[in-house]
């Protein structure tokens, strides 16, 4: 029983980070209509920048994270203005999607290369304030870092939710994603929309990156961007662009993976636990091709 609770705690804390990364994707998808993998690079860069600011330049930890988030938002926005926004209108819509996907993957390559060139390939620690501090409840030990991860993520989500539901920006985002020209015709300033979207995306990604780079999270390694791929089932389980959906999806993903690692028998073969979320996702897609989101029917003619 304790074991189950312990695994649940661990699954949730992993899951919330998946959720954060998925939210980074979802916000961009909502605001631009394109599936952009660049948040993966922001996870990576956010963690390394935190290291740079906090460990190498000795800035206060919170300040370092905030600065990293700002730099990442600026990078994202620069990418949007210089690259992504120029990919539109160059052909069929599906080719536009492919362009954005591939350019963002190209940028992840660049980010990876840059990280190794600047900081080198060794493992580092970002000297986070939590270290190994624990809260023990009965037989269950919860890392303080996990509590913060959960709390900060939920707070961030609440803010995002308010912004999207209760400011005009939300409608503007969806309008731009649906039809950029028509959105402009309504007076939507796409620069404001993309700046907001990238700020949100960067906040979520950097928070996730920082949490992953803590000692409890596994430390700072040059392949942190891989989490971007691992979080994708969360995005799909949650139904692409709904923020609460991302949270459910992320938590479900974290739990499935952790339970599988904890309980799956050896006979399931090598790598079963890390593959299981993908199988769950495939099954879901077979049953409900639109994910668990409220699916909008589309009309064919």
């Amino acid at each position: 029983m304790t074991n189950l609770i312990q695994l649940t705690v661990s699954g949730l804390s992993l899951g919330i980070l998946y959720a954060l990364v998925a939210i980074g994707f979802a916000v961009l998808l909502k605001a631009t209509g394109h599936f952009n993998m660049f948040p993966g690079a922001l996870v990576l860069l956010g963690a390394y920048l935190t290291y740079q600011f906090h460990v190498l330049w000795s800035l206060n930890f919170v300040l370092a994270v905030a600065l990293a988030a700002i730099v990442c938002a600026a990078l994202g926005l620069a990418g949007e203005r210089l690259l992504f926004s120029r990919l539109g209108g160059k052909g069929h819509r599906s080719i536009e999607h492919l362009s954005v996907l591939l350019v963002s993957l190209g940028l992840i390559s660049l980010a990876q290369a840059a990280v190794v060139s600047i900081w080198g390939p060794l493992n580092y620690l970002i000297e986070d304030p939590w270290g190994l501090s624990l809260v023990r409840l009965g037989g269950v030990a919860i890392a303080v870092r996990d509590i913060w991860a959960l709390g900060l993520s939920l707070a961030l989500l609440a803010v995002f939710y308010l912004v999207i539901q209760h400011t005009r920006v939300g409608v503007g985002m969806r309008a731009v994603a649906s039809d950029p020209e028509a959105a402009r015709a309504q007076g939507v300033n796409p620069h404001v929309i993309s700046a907001t979207a990238w700020a949100m995306c960067s906040a979520a990604s950097v928070l996730a990156g920082m949490m992953l780079a803590t000692e409890m999270g596994g430390g700072l390694v040059p392949n942190l961007d891989q989490i971007a791929f691992s979080a994708l089932p969360a995005l799909i389980l949650g139904g692409l662009s709904s923020l609460p959906g991302c949270v459910y999806g992320g938590l479900a993903l974290g739990l499935v993976q952790t339970y599988a690692a904890g309980y799956a028998p050896e006979s399931m073969g090598q790598g079963f636990a890390s593959m299981l979320p993908w199988v769950v996702m495939i099954l879901l897609l077979v049953v409900k091709p639109g994910g668990f989101a409220k699916t909008l029917e589309t009309r064919k003619a």
């Binding site: 052909g91 660049l110 990876q112 060139s117 996702m281």
Partner: protein, 402 residues
């Protein structure tokens, strides 16, 4: 006022061709004599090239390019023509490679069995998963393809008898067709090494595959693929069974991937599950895109550039500024050579997508045409490649478009 005058200046460059000399027949393989001659030259070159270059490096590199071009050729059917994005082509390459290991390596069957076996295995694997992708679009499709990579990897490492598990497996398949053995080829008294013979085999297979794909693309099946990509409902209304067409595209993509896998296995003589992961899947997609989606030559051009860059960068690192050929922990400023591949993939992608989304194939085609024009030939040169997706000038009437 005649109907044809309603769009006055729109197409000023194009005039109604004289009724006698009109319309080109796109279904023909070679539209001009020049093209026919070029085709013949290409075949001679495939046989003559390996002997004329003495560099093992060049043979190995061009062999790799051929293999990747073949896998990309398959992916191009799916992503370029049918518009379905897949990062999972590497899995079918893997299936073909391991099928090759099983048939050609472990069972020691002849080339005529194991190579078609790789093709069939790739196609079968694709047929198995094709129904999954049918109902999915856009992001869902991309993510599903990622899922296939992970599931595929799981399957590979858990079939150690065939794949060697995580550790990989060696195989030395026969390259003999009975009357000729590409492994020890002798043509006109000249002896070819294993690598040289394999080069010929790879490029002959690639050439034959390209011709087959061109034939398909320019006829009913190819048009149907593109039509389904552009407007699925409209295509169905025209009598096209979209589901069938998509499954077929998937199977063909997998089969050519498998074929490439078989040849890769013959080239490396050692394959490992890890190789057929996301990196190769991405590389193949990048090849297709950088080369030019939905173009005939795109996969070859893309492979030539993308697959050779990391290798060339390492080979010639010392001559490239800012590169660190050697690694030591504080070896000064410089980009580690191994990162160059990543950097160039990234840059190539970004540049191509922003400046010429139609890819190298189009760039080269345009350059070629202007060269020909410079050479003073007034006859209009036909497009060397089937029309790639062009810019949508007017998306006005898209609303609920089928």
């Amino acid at each position: 006022m005649a109907l044809t005058e309603t769009a006055p200046r729109l197409r000023s460059a194009r005039t109604e061709p004289p009724s006698g000399a009109r319309r080109r027949d796109d279904s023909r393989l070679c539209r001009t004599r020049t093209q026919r001659i070029l085709l013949a030259v290409a075949f001679v070159a495939i046989v003559a090239f390996p002997l004329s270059v003495d560099s093992a490096f060049l043979i190995s590199l061009t062999g790799t390019i051929g293999v990747f071009a073949l896998a990309a050729l398959g992916l191009n059917i799916l992503s370029g023509y049918a518009g379905q994005i897949s990062l999972a082509q590497s899995i079918f390459v893997g299936v073909g490679a391991f099928a090759g290991v099983g048939l050609g390596g472990l069972a020691e069957l002849p080339l005529l069995v194991w190579l078609p076996g790789s093709f069939v295995a790739g196609g079968l694997a694709a047929a198995l998963v094709a129904p999954l992708t049918l109902r999915l679009k856009g992001v869902f499709q991309i993510v599903l393809s990622l899922a296939l990579i992970f599931v595929g990897h799981y399957v590979f490492v858990n079939l150690p008898a065939l794949t060697g598990g995580n550790g990989g497996i060696s195989a030395t398949p026969s390259l003999s067709l009975g009357f000729i053995d590409f492994g020890e080829l002798t043509v006109a008294g000249m002896r070819y090494s294993y690598e040289q013979g394999l080069f010929i085999l790879i490029w002959l297979v690639l050439a034959a595959s390209m011709i087959a794909v061109v034939n398909m693309h320019r006829t009913r099946f190819g048009r149907a693929l593109v039509a389904v990509r552009e407007a699925e409902t409209a295509a169905e209304i025209a009598g096209i069974n979209a589901a069938r067409i998509k499954v077929l595209a998937f199977i063909l993509a997998g089969a050519f991937g498998g074929l490439a896998g078989g040849l890769l296995m013959a080239q490396l003589r050692y394959v490992q599950a890890e190789q057929f992961g996301i990196n190769m899947g991405l590389e193949l997609l990048i090849i297709v895109v950088v080369g030019g989606l939905g173009t005939t030559w795109g996969p070859v051009l893309g492979a030539a550039v993308i697959s050779s860059i990391p290798v060339l960068a390492t080979q010639y690192a010392e001559y490239i500024p800012f590169l660190q050929a050697d690694f030591s922990q504080d070896g000064g400023i410089g980009i580690p050579v191994g990162q160059v591949g990543l950097l160039i993939y990234g840059l190539a992608l970004v540049l191509v997508m922003v400046f010429e989304p139609r890819g190298l194939s189009h760039l080269l085609g345009a350059a070629g045409r202007s060269l020909v024009r410079l050479a003073g030939r007034s006859r209009t040169v036909p497009d060397p490649v089937p029309a790639p997706p062009t810019r949508a000038d007017d998306r006005a009437h898209q609303g609920e478009k089928a």
